[in-house]
Amino acid sequence: MNVITDHLGEFGDGLLLTVELTLLALAGALATGTAVAAMRVSPVRVLRAAGMAYVEVLQNIPLLVWLVIAVFGLPEIGVIAGLFTTSAVVIALYQGAYTAEAIRSGINAVPAGQGEAARALGLTFVQSLRLVVLPQALRTVVQPLGNIAIMTLMNTALAAAVGVVELTAAANRVNLAEAQPIWIFVTAGLAYMALSAVFGLVTGGLERKLAILR
């Protein structure tokens, strides 16, 4: 067990970076997902098509390919940003596609009468979406969004493959120095499980607070 206590600093830094990456990516994914879902239900056909294309292209190419393109490819065309920023943006955009699909399913679950009532009151498309439909839609998809949060946490590990020293990479580094893989990887695994459990608890709490009984 000494391996862990000796390298508590490295593990702590890695854990912190994983948490930061996850939270930033989640915030970005929620913003992207809401925008793309709104595009996909808008009356403008081009916007609908663009939203659909976004989801298809992002979901059907592996995240690792996106990370490799962004980290090693973009500098080739003169777009240079920090490793952490690049990874956070790429993971946010990737998870944004999944978030958009979850939110869209929530929008479809809102009874048609709500949209009709909003229009009857004279609200525009954006107003009825923002004030009437989205608040209800988001409440019905708390559970799927919680799953996306856990999926995002899992996916931040891929940033290790392009050089971000988050939890997985930190564990790997400690192992290269200490060569005591079992304890080191089990510790990292337990940390991921604990973080997932926290997300699960938060989701459960939000669900109880926000769920609409229909």
């Binding site: 056909r45 081009v46 190419i61 690792l64 996106w66 490819g73 065309i77 979406l129 931040t156 891929l158």
Partner: protein
């Protein structure tokens, strides 16, 4: 398009004008984005014809298709193993025996919250220390199988639970053992119901094979890395590879959607035949 009708009606003249304006603005925005991207490519000399020409030649494609073949092979082996393990875990989790139920549930819950890359590192760096140095292919397939088995288990469990209890009871009443009733009566129906989810999970597993990049197993992405190191056409190579993934996975996603739509609209063959027999 009935689902997207929630937020708008048949547009009147004013709405139509507004939609036209929004369409024009969107197209303009898209054109600006494409122009900006092309400018970045152009200014850095990445548009030069000789940087793209290799991707029109057969030897290049033969190499990439070889990588794709390895990707598909690893995915197919891993899908088969993960599905088999998934069925076992689902049955274990639904079994009346506690000593099967608890470990199966624990496996699924634990593995679902550990990143696949961590499992890859365990196989790469931990197992060899304990004398288990797998061949390259299995260094990729084993962690993928371990992590996807949990996902497949949950899909099968949902499918089995969706089959009416009477089906199992009827099997038992006919004198089948519980195992045979599951295998002959319940599982075939469950598998058919969750077919779309199985296809999309398989597409997800296919995406996960890109971890071969870390393992140095020569699947599509790692082949691209080797190629880019050799010809220095980095962004071109990775864009072509992304396109190949897009085509393969979009086809799989389309298949899943088609299967789902067919299940929703068409009753199963058994139901159709029963209906035909009942007709006078």
């Amino acid at each position: 398009m009935s689902s997207s009708r929630l937020l708008f009606d048949e547009p009147g003249p004013r709405a139509r004008r507004r939609i036209r304006v929004a369409t024009a603005l969107t197209l303009l925005g898209g054109a600006v984005l494409v122009a900006l991207a092309l400018r970045q490519f152009g200014e850095n000399g990445q548009l030069a014809a000789d940087r793209w020409r290799p991707y029109g030649t057969w030897p290049m494609w033969r190499y990439l298709l070889e990588g794709l073949r390895s990707t598909l092979y690893a995915a197919a082996v891993s899908i088969a193993l993960a599905m088999a393990a998934g069925i076992a875990l689902a049955l274990g989790r639904l079994s009346p025996a506690r000593w099967l139920r608890v470990p199966s549930a624990a496996y699924v819950e634990i593995v679902r919250t550990v990143p696949a890359l961590l499992l890859v590192y365990v196989v790469l760096f931990a197992l060899p220390k304990y004398g288990l140095d797998l061949p390259l292919f299995w260094k990729l397939v084993v962690p993928l199988t371990v992590s996807n088995a949990a996902a497949f288990a949950e899909i099968f469990r949902a499918g089995i639970r969706s089959v009416e209890r009477g089906q199992l009871e009827a099997g038992l009443a006919l004198g089948l053992t519980r195992g045979r009733a599951m295998r002959l009566v319940v599982l075939p129906q469950a598998a058919r119901r969750v077919l779309p989810s199985l296809v999309s999970q398989s597409a997800g597993l296919l995406k996960d094979t890109s971890l071969g990049y870390v393992v140095s197993y020569a699947e599509l992405l790692y082949s691209g890395k080797v190629l880019a190191n050799y010809n220095h056409l980095l962004i071109q190579t990775y864009l072509v590879i992304a396109l190949i993934y897009l085509v393969i996975n979009a086809s799989l996603a389309k298949l899943a959607r088609t299967l789902e739509a067919r299940q929703r609209t068409r009753p199963s063959r058994a139901v159709r035949e029963a209906a035909a027999a009942a007709r006078p």
